[in-house]
């Protein structure tokens, strides 16, 4: 259909050009092709979707796409987009919510595109206008994984834009939650403004203060001295009223709750610095401390920025709305129509197609439902439902389209009810008080004591010095270095974690991690691998009859391996099994359709030596009528490195397993975890939540490690909730950290590193206290000159920052995390 023009592609090592005798890689997405049926010239494709994208790109002369990134692996649009899938995007109420800006015919919207991952993606996404002239322009924000598209509404609709993106393999992710909450990035910018103003004032005041430091009193003309001083006051005003205002607010909020947080002594220091400077300048008694003051605010704000490392493309606050579709097809009077999910009511008849989620608890009316509840329970097996059966929200239909009647509202459904729990509605009380705030409580008290004590002493000696000493103590004790140590140490730790694909929400999480004493694991998807797709058959291909026979036999067995192989086989179960027997640890056998089928270990099925299989997989052997037929390789059920991980965690933490699954795997888990680890099976999402809350009530510091929506409550209730994800760009439930599944074996090291980081923070507190003692001795003696302050303050801050950053990195390197 499309005429492919000659292309200017270099023929060296582009994927797909590999020798046809080895594995053939898809020219578009780089996946291994099943055969060489789908090809254009000498370029092979794994599926028609990839071929179509290639043709599209070729037609529009966009094949430079394949040139940009050597390591490129494009996104294959394998899931063929169902034609009416985006019909809801024609609904004006939804369109209005998605569009950021419109002017005449021009429309602009920002889409989340989780599948973008390399520079080729950016290139192609920014050339949507070449694919469809209706698109005016598109711009990618890669860190946020967003594309902002502008289009001409007269030529192309929102739905068509989304379909265009989906057709080249970049399906935008549109969810209820994104529609409900518009992004907020304004607050970040304010911090940048504040730091700009503070830096500007700091630099200029330093410059204007040099004469005061260097020249003797007599050598500066008084008129200049006064001019410089008042100019400094002018420059310092915006720093006091604008840049440092957040500290005052936070300190005030703390005081109102009768809590001395770290911002209290900081605010005290800032106010003292500023007011004493103004007083000195106004009374012509001295130059003031405006240079120290602006520098202090500048450094503090830098610490804040460093601490604010965030992973823009990840969202740690996802709830079920992110998983649910925006719309659902409803059947009314024989007609099908798409309505927004928010308008779905009890009694509506909905049509759910292959791979679609059931949005609310419903009763099956028509069709054969095979529901995958992996979302809800973590249990990956398909459950067959008959007409009249109830299907819970969150189940995914596999197979033909089915018709259901909604019996409960979305918010009241089995899974979503979890979000009505207090834990989601109340502000999080999960965090432990930050270390620095616990210290500041005592710190502030001690500083005030010293200030009052010293001024009381001076009152007896020399009254005029008393107030000077009082303010000097508060100025020099301002815990600048103290306030900087934890942002820099924990911020570095957070970045080191990020390099290891462990993404945590904020620096407080590092502290919380260091205090964990109990780890609760979810089983399915957390301890076990989720992929069943990688079961592979080795041997002469099975005929249809043979496959049906194998599948029929496998269905009889509840063994995990049987179920995994069963799930991977296509086709229907056609036959009854006679003479079935199952020998634990060996295998199963039976007569299917007059044929003896044996499946199990090599010794059991083949009665001969095992074939060589890849490490990390288990082989399941098949014999038909007593003759070896071939074997399946099944990836190991438990994550790689689990045994080692458990061995290294067990002495330090109390481990618990909560599983939504039945207890059939208990024996296998016991071999890994031992007999003393509590294991609870058949846990509902509410049970998990309640269990974690109980642990907390026992004053334990709990970490929950889970992966699914069914763990959402427990993740939220725990002090630290870590979600394990095979692909960090797919969404995880609300949590404090996301760990890439590949890094699971590193988990114990990552946890230990949190303790190291907090130890580094404590050492740096020691360093900053040492500076404080030096400063205080000057202050108490009444000798704190502006010059001493101007030197001490930056030196202490810079050395603390340098120490924490370097120490954290060094330790990370020693622990093999860098």
């Amino acid at each position: 259909m499309i005429n492919v023009k000659p292309l200017n592609i270099p023929d060296d090592n582009a994927p797909g050009d590999g020798p046809p005798n080895g594995e053939v890689l898809c020219y578009h997405c780089g996946d291994v092709c099943d055969g060489t049926d789908i090809a254009i010239g000498d370029r092979y494709f794994c599926c028609n979707g990839c071929k179509t994208v290639y043709e599209l790109l070729a037609e529009k002369d966009l094949c430079d796409y394949y040139d940009i990134d050597e390591q490129r692996s494009s996104k294959s649009p394998k899931d063929e987009v169902y034609e009416h899938r985006y019909d809801y995007l024609d609904d004006p109420s939804i369109v209005d919510q998605l569009i950021d800006f419109s002017d005449g015919d021009m429309r602009m919207a920002t889409f989340k595109v989780p599948s973008m991952h390399c520079s080729s993606c950016i290139w192609l996404l920014e050339r949507l206008h070449s694919l469809n002239p209706g698109v005016i322009s598109s711009r990618v924000n890669f860190p946020r994984k967003e594309a902002t598209v502008t289009w001409n509404a007269g030529k192309i609709s929102l739905r068509e834009v989304v379909m265009l993106m989906a057709s080249v393999g970049y399906e935008p992710y549109i969810s209820l939650q994104d529609v409900a909450e518009k992004r907020k990035s304004v607050t970040d910018k304010k911090l940048y403004y504040r730091i700009g103003v503070a830096g500007f004032a700091f630099g200029n005041i330093m410059l204007l203060s040099f004469p005061e430091y260097l020249a003797s009193d007599a050598s500066i003309e008084p008129v200049f001295r006064i001019f410089f001083r008042y100019l400094n006051v002018l420059l310092a005003l915006p720093v006091f009223f604008y840049s440092s205002s957040e500290y005052f607010k936070s300190a005030w909020a703390g005081l109102k709750q009768r809590f001395l947080n770290i911002d209290v002594p900081i605010s005290l220091g800032i106010i003292m610095l500023f007011s004493r400077s103004i007083y000195e300048i106004a009374t012509h008694t001295g130059p003031g401390f405006l240079d120290s003051f602006t520098g202090l605010v500048f450094f503090l704000l830098i610490g804040k920025i460093f601490q604010k490392k965030s992973y823009d493309s990840l969202n740690f606050d996802r709830d079920f709305r992110s998983y649910f579709p925006l719309s659902v097809a409803v059947r009314e009077d024989g007609h099908e129509r798409t309505i927004p999910l928010t308008r779905l009511a009890v009694g509506d008849r909905i049509v759910i197609r292959n791979q679609e989620l059931v949005p609310a608890d419903a009763v099956l009316l028509r069709g054969e439902a095979n529901i995958d509840y992996s979302f809800v329970t973590g249990e990956a097996d398909l459950i067959a439902k008959k007409s009249g059966d109830r299907i819970h929200a969150g189940g995914r239909q596999v197979g033909q389209a089915v018709e259901l009647e909604v019996v409960k509202e979305i918010e009241q459904s089995y899974l979503t009810r979890l979000w009505n729990n207090d834990i989601f509605t109340k502000p999080s009380a999960g965090y432990l008080t930050a270390l620095v705030d616990r210290i500041s409580k005592h710190f502030t008290a001690v500083v005030l004591l010293i200030a009052f004590g010293a001024s009381a002493f001076w009152l007896t000696v020399d009254v005029s010095v008393a107030t000077t000493v009082f303010t000097a103590v508060l100025i020099v004790a301002c815990p600048c270095a103290l306030a900087l140590s934890s942002p820099f140490a924990l911020g570095s730790a957070q970045r080191i974690y990020g390099n290891r694909d462990f993404y945590i929400k904020n620096t407080e999480t590092v502290e919380a991690l260091s205090r964990i004493d109990t780890i609760v694991f979810d089983k399915t998807g957390t301890l076990t691998q989720t992929r069943t797709a990688h079961v592979r058959w080795h041997g002469p291909a099975l005929g249809e009859e043979e496959r049906a026979a194998v599948k029929s036999l496998l269905r009889q067995s509840t063994h995990t391996l049987s179920r995994q192989v069963f799930a991977s086989l296509t086709g229907d179960v056609t036959h009854a099994v006679d003479d079935y027997r199952e020998v634990p640890g060996k295998g199963i056998g039976g007569v299917v359709d007059g044929r003896r089928v044996t499946i199990g270990s090599a010794e059991w099925a083949w009665r001969e030596d095992a074939a060589v299989v890849d490490a990390g997989t288990t082989a399941v052997y098949v014999a038909l009528d007593g003759a070896p037929r071939g074997h399946f390789t099944v990836p190991n059920l438990y994550r790689e490195g689990l045994t080692e991980l458990v061995t290294s965690l067990k002495p330090h933490y109390r481990l618990v397993i909560l599983s939504g699954d039945s207890s059939r795997e208990e024996a296998r888990l016991r071999t890994v975890f031992g007999d003393d680890v509590p294991m609870h099976f058949n846990q509902t999402p509410e049970d998990k939540l309640a269990y974690v809350q109980e642990l907390r009530a026992e004053d334990r510091h709990v970490m929950m490690v889970g992966d699914g929506l069914n763990d959402a409550g427990a993740l939220k209730a725990a002090h630290v909730g870590i979600s394990i994800s095979e692909n960090i760009n797919t969404f995880s439930p609300a949590c404090d950290g996301i760990l890439s599944a590949d890094r699971f074996p590193l988990f114990d090291r990552l946890l230990r590193f949190a303790r190291t980081s907090v130890a580094i923070v404590k050492v740096s507190f020691g360093i900053s206290f040492a500076y404080n003692v030096i400063g205080l001795s000057f202050a108490v003696a009444g000798m704190l000159s502006p010059l001493v302050s101007a030197v001490l303050m930056p030196v202490s801050s810079v050395s603390v920052v340098a120490f924490t950053t370097i120490a954290t990195r060094l330790m990370a390197r020693r622990k093999g995390l860098m």
Partner: protein, 79 residues
């Protein structure tokens, strides 16, 4: 020596200009995405000059195209 007042005034003016530029850059979102532009600038626009098939060039993009078109030449030699 009173020239100092003028000089200080100028220096402050220059500094204020830079502060203004910085604030403007933050406000217009130039610090929002520190990664994508670094990749974007490396793309030669491999697209052949667009045929005049009626697609209206619009302001912003037209600009970009003409810049990128000048780069097309060295691409074919380079690769």
């Amino acid at each position: 020596m009173y020239i100092m007042f003028v000089l200080i005034g100028f220096s402050l003016l220059v500094a204020l200009t830079f502060l203004g530029l910085y604030l403007w850059a933050v406000r217009t979102g130039q610090f929002d995405d520190k990664y994508t532009p670094s990749v974007r600038m490396l793309f030669d626009d491999g697209t052949k000059p667009r045929e005049a098939n009626g697609s209206e060039p619009h302001e912003e993009d037209g600009d970009k195209d003409s810049n990128e078109r000048t780069n097309t030449g060295d691409r074919s030699n380079g690769s």
